[in-house]
Symmetry: none
Subunit: 365 residues, 2 copies
DNA sequence: CGTTGATGGCTACCTTAACAGTCATATGCT
DNA sequence: AGCATATGACTGTTAAGGTAGCCATCAACG
């Protein structure tokens, strides 16, 4: 739909103010009536297609639009009622009013659908199941971070069902997911576990605390891994034999949903108090992104792993749903690196800043 | 809703482009997805009402909005899921995000209801300086009445300055203006007086009480007319000689701002305990609207005056600002009648219900 | 200090109306 | 006549909304 060339021209004439106003309005609308934009776009697409193909019959049009004829009929009836198109024996055609509407709507729809378009573009490039992006940039605005949290929380709830095991990693982003979760009651039929053992000082941002918080909100069970993160190998092996711990570890490795945050490698390494020589090594290896202890280079290859207990990347393959949440332009490179790894079906919840950054990086390649 | 004074200011700063853009977009949307725009305004109304009443329970809110509790629940669930409001044991309240959204949406809804255009249309037809209308109908919702009070209070403050004398009439509407007034400090440099002597039993709705309340809120002076309203002519003449009373009377007659409510003639006459023969007379004379003792027929002619002490219509000509406040579809005819009289520059603060009613009546003529 | 009434939230059940799928029919063009 | 199209009617499914009864909480009051 929508000849981009034309739209660009129009926009340039009108100037940036109009576009930003438009965005602001679209934003408000999307919050209060999310399906408004969808419905509007759908009808716009119909009008637009008719305008190109007219006169056109319903069967053909339905086929063209990929919807059933019956459904199309309902839409067409409405549009005719509104005086935007007429039907004759030869098929449908737009009225002058309809033609004008299509023209005026072009910019709006383009603007409204821009995020969606880029979401799918990124999803295709990285072979992700789905990308959900909220407007704005977490780097510059805290509300965007919250917004992203809410989007992730909403998506999470949509795929959760009783009997599932949910593994979560740590970080501020996931903390905001937990905070944004609207309480629900799963009658203890869901179990939430941290993907790995404890780490760092800030309790609120640890995987364990986040697991506990999510469990509380959903009235679910939670189990914790009371283990230091940086164990030696033998010590880890010994501890893993403890029944209590083994049980949790098995739970973690059988998780059906994994919720993970993504960090910038250097920042994460520093937060983990790696030694200077380790930091240098990471740098040398080209590590840019990190998620629950695994460091990735630009090509999505694992270049370093912090010794830790809990979920291993091998176990991940069996997980049905992986949800990655991360945003902010500054994280674009890190997210890209991590997601270049060959994950199972993965949904990325991000923000416009990171989305734009990632697409730009991909273009540069 | 949405503080018309502020809105107008903002709008002026941004210039006409934004408003017309907004109008254009809303127009398109209204053509293509009318029911979703309805949903949008409905949700806005809910948020707005919660914002005024919070914390508020569902039952009360449903009653206020005139919808069933069940229906409201669906909406509330959605709004909560969107992070716009929270529910607690005490009831619902807006989140900061929700508050911000309401603010940003005010202008949108104003445009969506086509209030701006209709405001100016009415102002032109009746030669008023300005018309300010809030969305909704006071007849069916109490919050609309409050909202109208807020709009009037805000406008009043915008034109008040030190040294002024403000005369007020009575009625529930003006009581809500007084209640909505945000306290300010005029250092006793403003004087508030009732437009007329006392009347009726309900103290809170009397001109005197309202004057006192407004004065208290603004830290202004007030003087009262301790006079029965229904005096004989001689008695009035005698009393008017009393220095104390004479002083106040002169103050009233030199008022620079007049705030008045408008009532339906029959209802007001009954509240004033006029005799049946007087009521019949009013009816015969075609009185439909009333303001501070003057009764007007449909053509804006004074057909009856209750004998009283205080401001006379002759004195009104010198007053710089007259603010009339009245709303509700049921008052449309009365307001129209009163405002057909040749007032000095007058600003009408009303609601959508009355505005719609008035325009319909004007069209019928 | 317990009781009661008001307010607020939650769940379950059932009715109804909107929606979409299917088939049959009418119309007009070639 | 044959094709493509619109149009209408019938129907099963589904989700929305109405109704009702329940419990929790809090404050007023005996």
């Amino acid at each position: 739909m929508g000849q981009p060339g034309q739209i660009r021209e129009v926009r340039d004439k009108i100037g940036p103010t109009r576009t930003s106003d438009l965005r602001a309005i679209i934003n408000l609308e999307q919050r209060l009536v999310p399906d408004l934009i969808d419905a509007l776009t759908k009808r716009y697409t119909i009008l637009r297609t008719v305008s190109l193909l007219q006169p056109v019959g319903r069967r053909l049009l339905a086929q063209e639009l990929g919807i059933t004829e019956r459904r199309l009929r309902a839409e067409v009836d409405f549009l005719r009622e509104q005086g935007l198109l007429t039907v004759s024996a030869l098929g449908m055609a737009l009225t002058p009013v309809g033609e004008k509407l299509v023209e005026e709507l072009a910019e709006y729809v383009h603007e409204a659908r821009d995020l969606t378009r880029r979401e799918t573009a990124l999803a295709e490039r990285l072979r992700l199941e789905r990308v959900i992006a909220v407007p704005g940039d977490s780097d510059t605005s805290e509300t965007v971070q919250k917004d992203m949290g809410r989007a992730a929380a909403q998506y999470l709830k949509s795929i959760l069902s009783e009997g599932m095991v949910l593994a979560v990693s740590g970080g501020t982003t996931l903390a905001s997911v937990a905070a944004a979760l609207v309480p629900a009651n799963y009658h203890g039929r869901i179990t939430v576990v941290p993907a790995r053992g404890g780490m760092g000082e800030d309790l609120d941002k640890q995987a364990g605390s986040i697991a506990a918080k999510i469990a509380a909100k959903l009235n679910a069970n939670h189990r914790l891994l009371h283990l230091p993160d940086n164990l030696g190998e033998e010590a880890a092996a010994v501890l893993a034999q403890e029944p209590e711990i083994r049980e949790v570890l098995e739970l973690v490795r059988s998780a059906s949903v994994l919720l993970l945050g993504i960090g910038v490698a250097q920042a994460m390494a520093r937060r983990r108090h790696l030694r200077p020589d380790q930091l240098a090594l990471l740098n040398e290896l080209g590590a840019v992104g990190e998620t629950f202890g695994y460091y990735f280079n630009r090509r999505g290859e694992i270049v370093y792993v912090t010794p830790s207990t809990g979920l291993k990347l091998e176990n991940i393959k069996r997980i049905g749903h992986v949800i990655a949440v991360a945003g902010g332009a500054s994280k674009a490179e890190a997210i890209l690196a991590v997601l270049s790894y060959n994950f199972p079906p993965l949904t990325l919840v991000t923000d416009e800043g990171a989305l734009t950054g990632m697409l730009k990086l991909l273009e540069g390649r």
